[in-house]
């Protein structure tokens, strides 16, 4: 570790400490927004760990998130909560591993469509299982877990995701993914096991999404498939990550914060126009800032220093 690494680590720890103080404000509304921001930060950052370097756009976040939510929904009456979190991690990893093995040979748009269909399919399967064996569609999740606890759990997961992301970025695996994202043929001909590298990273992001789903389950009290597997979640994660920028570990955060605040503002004043906001954000990404806010910042930084 060099000086810059220590400085970044210090900054990250400071940021985390400040964020952890939010519940002390005693303002329930801020806390609610804080939970949403923390949730999307974790989801978007872990999404970018895989999709950033490889350019495989995954819309499967909702599938893994929903699985995690359902692990808690179905087990909360019989199994300790902490164990359920561990099970959610395992289920997310296994599901992502299977999906990865089956689909990561697909390229470009086929992969995108498959992952979108996957969330829908998982939802149908869960619904089918519930109505055939569970006898009901939804589940009550009644716990004494408070919003503060959810928030702190998410912050802890965020810290882990940043740490894992940083480690991957310095590892051979991270370098392999960069090469795969540039040219998969070259990667294979340079000795990289492309399928394995992609599946490992896809599993990491699937695990995290499932864990987040499990952590948030107590927030909803009543859970049903259409909510847990909402495709909107997948799209929001992609848009926030791209808006911030996926080439830096902290990039998605820069997209999550403004987008969540804007989303809140729009839902309060114009509750029917949230989809419009999503559409506009998407156009903005495609036409104006393909590398996200981070790309923009770095471009102006470079110009300021006079090299570009």
């Amino acid at each position: 570790m060099n000086n810059k690494d220590w400085r970044n680590l210090g900054l990250a720890a400071l940021g985390l400490a400040i964020a952890a103080c939010l519940p002390l404000s005693g303002n329930g509304y801020y806390l609610t927004i804080g939970v949403t921001i923390a949730m999307y930060t974790v989801l978007a950052t872990s999404w970018a760990l895989f999709s950033g370097p490889t350019h495989y756009i995954s819309l499967a976040t909702a599938a893994f998130y929903g699985l995690g939510t359902y692990v808690v929904a179905m087990g909360i009456d019989d199994v300790p909560y902490v164990i359920l979190l561990v099970i959610a991690l395992g289920v997310g990893a296994i599901a992502a591993g299977l999906v990865g093995l089956a689909t990561l040979r697909l390229s470009g748009v086929y992969f995108v469509i498959f992952t979108l269909g996957l969330a829908e399919m998982t939802r149908q399967v869960v619904t089918w299982i519930q109505s055939n064996w569970g006898g009901h569609q939804g589940n009550y999740v009644l716990t004494d877990i408070t919003e503060e606890m959810i928030y702190w759990q998410l912050l802890a997961v965020a810290a882990c995701v940043y740490l894992v992301g940083w480690l991957i970025g310095r590892s051979r695996l991270g370098f392999a993914l960069k090469i795969i994202g540039n040219d998969e043929v070259v990667a294979a001909h340079s000795g990289i096991n492309t399928a394995r590298s992609k599946v490992i990273l896809f599993m990491v992001s699937g695990m995290v999404a499932a864990l987040v789903g499990a952590i948030l389950a107590p927030r909803w009290t009543y859970i049903e498939p259409s909510m847990a597997f909402s495709p909107m979640l997948s799209f929001q994660v992609v848009i926030m990550a791209l808006l911030g920028g996926v080439n830096r570990l902290w990039g998605p955060l820069v997209g999550v914060i403004p987008f969540t605040l804007l989303w809140e503002a729009v839902s309060i004043s114009f509750p029917n126009q949230t989809l419009l906001l999503m559409g506009v954000a998407f156009l903005l990404i495609v036409y104006a800032i393909p590398h996200g806010f981070v790309g923009l910042i770095e471009k102006y930084n470079a110009r300021f220093r006079g090299d570009g």
């Binding site: 540039n182 294979a188 001909h189």
Partner: protein, 244 residues
């Protein structure tokens, strides 16, 4: 053949639907040998290279490296066993700089290095091909021959036993061509085993120990460059019946 065999191609056939691109090919490559794979356009040379590197799977027949079969392995395993290639149309990694492109070849290949060691070795390879000055430059700043050099540096960085150069000299202007031939001659001098697909006759004459000539997927001649270039069937394949 008196040299020790390092690569053997036996009865190798590749069909694309009804088209037989490579038809029952047989040849050996000796250690430290430079073998030219030549023939008119569409004769199956690049398909042959793709079969050796693992980019394509043969329909039948086999390729073995030092006695062990490699033709059913995926490309990454073949690369790790020591067969590395360049591409007919240069393939670089545009989001990485020159040095990182070279390091990409050093980390996962036949001889694997990481960290400072990989960087040092990649840097040596850049020096080797004459690109060390531009180590920190982005790919977009490179001229065509420099792109080709960089691809060669990436391939060399994995310390391969066998180098496959697919028309590495194509598209260079006369001065660049001279530099290019010189560079391959140096590699030859280091005792590397090289298979090259080439159209440039000067390069074939001055670089190759032996040539295998293909036409319509079959081997029509094999021997020293002088022998095969004087061969009637080879001349007919290149120039047509009337001129032979």
């Amino acid at each position: 053949m008196d040299k020790r065999k390092i690569l053997s191609v036996r009865n190798l056939t590749k069909r694309f639907g009804g088209l037989v691109a490579v038809n029952a090919m047989n040849f050996d490559v000796g250690e430290h040998e430079v073998l030219g794979l030549i023939g008119p356009n569409g004769s199956g040379k690049t398909t042959m290279m793709n079969l050796i590197s693992g980019a394509l799977k043969p329909s039948s027949g086999e390729i073995s490296l030092q006695g062990s079969r490699i033709s059913d392995l995926p490309a990454q395993d073949i690369n790790r066993k020591g067969v590395a290639r360049t591409f007919q149309l240069v393939r670089l990694l545009p989001s990485l700089n020159v040095l990182d492109n070279a390091i990409a070849g050093a980390v996962f290949g036949h001889r694997q290095r990481w960290g400072q060691e990989a960087e040092d070795y990649a840097m040596q390879m850049l020096e080797r091909v004459g690109l060390s000055e531009q180590a920190q430059a982005p790919i977009s700043k490179l001229t065509y021959i420099d792109q080709k050099r960089l691809e060669l540096a990436r391939v060399l960085a994995g310390d391969p036993k066998i180098l496959l150069l697919d028309e590495w000299l194509a598209g260079l202007n006369p001065t660049e061509l001279e530099t290019g031939i010189e560079l391959i001659r140096d590699l030859r001098g280091e005792g590397r085993t090289i298979i090259l697909v080439e159209h440039v006759m000067d390069a074939i004459r001055s670089l190759c120990d032996r040539c295998v000539v293909m036409n319509s997927g079959v081997k029509i001649a094999e021997g020293t460059p002088a022998e095969v270039l004087a061969d009637h069937e080879v001349i007919r394949a290149y120039l047509g019946d009337e001129d032979a």
